[in-house]
């Protein structure tokens, strides 16, 4: 059993958890929710085991480093944090139906990591620009933030659907709209704090690697755009006229900005700094 096997299995476990949560919601069978939660917990454990294995394997290859250094590794870490954070919320507030909106995101992230032909899942040695402890802090903070925003996206979707459908159908098992709104806010401030830390650690890393903390490269700029969107959201709550609905929409726009920062930027002209550095530094 190696890390790739464990991580492939994780994809299926998350898929099963998503299926159970959605089935519980659609067929109004709260009994299924317990197994759904246990499935999610199992997935989380296997996911964590997979990441740890990968870490150990990298040392066995003689190029040991924390598995947080490329798109594949960040995606599997992203999935882990989403489910972990969700399970904590579920445990704390007992709103287990929300899993129907959140576990599919984790499953998608895992599936994309394993199936996309553009993503290399080999364990690679660290190029010089990535040999920095700031990198670890940067990636961990960013992905905790992104995971909180992903969950906020799921909650916003649930909120909008609940508002739209009223109490006619399965959404009346959901928490009240007000509670969803409040929970959403808690996640957004949590995510905002970690995005802030992520951007800051990134800036400090850039300053230690090539002497400038900010260079307006597309990835940096898009993370700032995301930050602006969520800062707007925090302030919009204080102006009248910005109802829960608009806030939920803005949170979803914010998550789209997250996704673009993460994936879309690769299709833009120019590269993220360490890419640029590698380009200029390689003969």
């Amino acid at each position: 059993m190696n890390s790739s096997n464990l991580l492939s299995i994780t994809t299926f476990i998350y898929g099963l958890a998503a299926f159970l949560y959605i089935a519980a919601m659609v067929f109004k069978k709260p009994l299924i929710l317990k197994p759904a939660t246990w499935t999610a917990i199992t997935g989380c454990a296997v996911n964590a085991a997979g990441i740890s294995m990968r870490w150990i394997e990298s040392y066995k290859l003689g190029i040991g480093h924390a598995p947080l250094t490329n798109l594949y590794e960040s995606l599997i870490f992203f999935a882990l944090v989403i489910v972990l954070l969700y399970l904590i919320i579920e445990h704390k507030y007992k709103y287990n139906l929300l899993g129907a909106f959140i576990t599919p995101l984790a499953c998608l992230a895992m599936a994309y990591a394993s199936l996309s032909p553009n993503i290399n899942d080999r364990i690679q040695p660290l190029i010089p620009a990535l040999q920095s402890n700031w990198l670890i802090a940067h990636v961990v903070a960013c992905f905790i933030g992104y995971a909180a925003f992903a969950i906020s996206f799921g909650i916003s979707l649930a909120y909008l659907l609940k508002k739209k459908q009223g109490s006619k159908n399965f959404f009346n098992h959901f928490p009240d709209a007000d509670i969803l709104h409040e929970l959403n806010h808690q996640l957004i401030i949590f995510g905002f704090l970690f995005l802030t830390i992520g951007i800051i650690t990134g800036a400090v890393w850039a300053n230690s690697a090539w002497g400038r903390y900010w260079g307006w490269d597309p990835k940096e700029t898009w993370s700032l755009v995301t930050w602006f969107v969520y800062a707007t959201l925090l302030h919009a709550r204080m102006t009248r006229g910005w109802t829960g609905k608009r806030i939920a929409l803005l949170s979803m726009v914010g998550f789209l900005a997250v996704l673009f920062t993460y994936f879309g930027v690769n299709y833009l002209p120019g590269l993220h700094s360490y890419g640029v550095l590698e380009k200029t530094i390689s003969p």
Binding site: Q124, P128, L183, F190, S208, V229, H235, T239, I281
Partner: protein, 454 residues
């Protein structure tokens, strides 16, 4: 005169109410987000020729007129930031005076009827004696709350407690940190510089090229590159770039240090970073020959295109050219000399002499193992000076601390009212917080439950 005065007051009032509003903040933040995107789709700071070939002459003229090609330094982008700064300052001035009064009050006043009307409230009945209750409750609450005040009433007592008054200032720390960041950036852009310099191994240089095209800057010291080394993983990916540097002041070496990517050198406010490298195009190849038969080593310089005689009279060699990246069966071999080898009584063969792999030629299984020294490298350094960095870093720290205070701490006050009724006591627990009401509700419920049992 009077009218004029009134008018100017009116204008000031209007400006004030314009800049005080959070609506403006929402507008500015959204506009900054939207406009920042432009510069990610249109590459910045390229040559006019590149732009003209992509966008055409007319579009190029329009875009460069509104500074689209250097938009983050443009007057309109700076204007947006300036508006944000004024917005933050005015807004903070407006709110801070009233918040200050709340935070630094000597004797906070409590209003029992306000607590009675709260929705976050629990009530229960207990048979313990009033005095005993006061002691117990006070002891319990003082664990969590710093400020406690007890008022005796006709039928019992009221206990007020609160904490976290100062956390109301957290949001001002966040806003102040934004100002620090922008100020730091401004200081850096006015008083700092960013430049580049390429230094060949063995050479000393003092003048750097600045990022702003065409300008140069003379450092107070010289930089000598003692060596440059690059090493690779087996896969061919780069592992380490390392430059040995010596700083020279008035002809004396003052500092000697190796730098790597992520490990820069800092001296008197100047930072030196590893940023690129290359090899100086060679005019000849320095060749080494190892004879399998005699075990002898030979060295020879070979000019391009010139035929040289191999040692031990075994044939001839012509160095054809030098390449930055050679290829052997799909592997990138890096820098190499390409040569034609004409062994005695054999037809000429093409061989590769990669500078990184001196043993490569062993594979040919010839009588001589031929290798070429790598031509001298130059190291590409980025040299920066930014006196605003400490402001920016202070801003970073302030922002994280401010966010933690604002998001996760609050000004909480609670009130316990105990009223005798016959032999029993009625206890009311109520509380408020300026944030996170969901959390406060849980707290009041827990507190009431605990007090019911003690």
């Amino acid at each position: 005169m009077n009218k004029n005065n009134k008018n100017s007051k009116n204008v000031i009032n209007r400006l004030w109410s314009f800049f005080v509003s959070v609506k403006l903040t929402v507008f500015l933040l959204l506009t900054l987000a939207a406009t920042s995107i432009i510069g990610t789709f249109i590459p910045q700071n390229q040559s006019p020729a590149a732009y003209i070939s992509t966008y055409g002459e007319t579009v190029y003229r329009i875009f460069s007129f509104i500074d689209i090609f250097d938009m983050y330094q443009s007057w309109w982008f700076r204007c947006l930031l300036l508006l944000l700064v004024i917005n933050i300052i005015i807004c903070s001035m407006d709110k801070l005076s009233s918040v200050w009064k709340i935070v630094f009050v000597k004797n906070p006043k409590f209003n029992i009827s306000r607590f009675r009307n709260l929705s976050l409230k629990k009530e229960f009945v207990t048979s313990s004696a009033t005095e005993a209750l006061l002691d117990k409750y006070k002891k319990d609450i003082s664990k969590n709350f710093k400020y406690i005040k007890v008022n005796k009433t006709a039928k019992g007592f009221c206990l007020f407690a609160e904490k976290g008054r100062w956390t109301r200032l957290g949001v001002y720390i966040v806003h102040f940190s934004v100002l620090l960041l922008l100020l730091g950036g401004l200081v850096g852009s006015i008083f700092g510089f960013e430049g580049y310099i390429n230094i060949t191994e063995g050479e000393t240089k003092q003048i750097i090229r600045l990022k702003t095209a065409g300008e140069v800057y003379k450092l107070n010291f010289g930089i000598r590159c003692d060596f440059f080394k690059v090493s690779f993983y087996d896969s061919g990916a780069p592992k380490e770039y390392r430059s040995g540097l010596t700083l020279i002041e008035q002809d004396k070496p003052v500092l000697q240090q190796d730098i790597k990517v992520n490990v820069p050198l800092r001296y008197k406010g100047i930072n030196i970073f590893q940023s690129s490298y290359g090899s100086v195009p060679p005019r000849y190849a320095a060749l080494n020959f190892l004879s399998n038969e005699s075990g002898m080593q030979y060295h020879e310089k070979a000019e391009f295109g010139q035929e040289i005689n191999l040692p031990e009279n075994s044939g001839k060699l012509i160095i054809k050219k030098f390449t930055r990246s050679s290829n052997f069966m799909g592997h990138n071999m890096g820098e190499a000399f390409l040569a034609t080898l004409i062994l005695k009584d054999k037809s000429p063969v093409e061989i590769i002499l990669p500078a990184r792999f001196p043993n490569f030629d062993k594979m040919r299984k010839g009588a001589l193992i031929i290798s070429a020294n790598s031509p001298p490298y130059y190291t590409g350094l980025q040299v920066t000076h930014d006196p605003g960095v400490w402001l920016v870093y202070s801003g970073f720290i302030a922002m994280i601390i401010g966010c933690c205070i604002t998001f996760f701490m609050s000004h909480q006050s609670i009130c316990l009212e105990v009223t005798r009724k016959g032999k029993k006591n009625i206890v009311m627990v109520a509380g408020t917080a300026n944030k996170n009401r969901l959390g406060m509700k849980n707290k009041i419920n827990k507190l009431a439950k605990r007090f019911e049992t003690i």
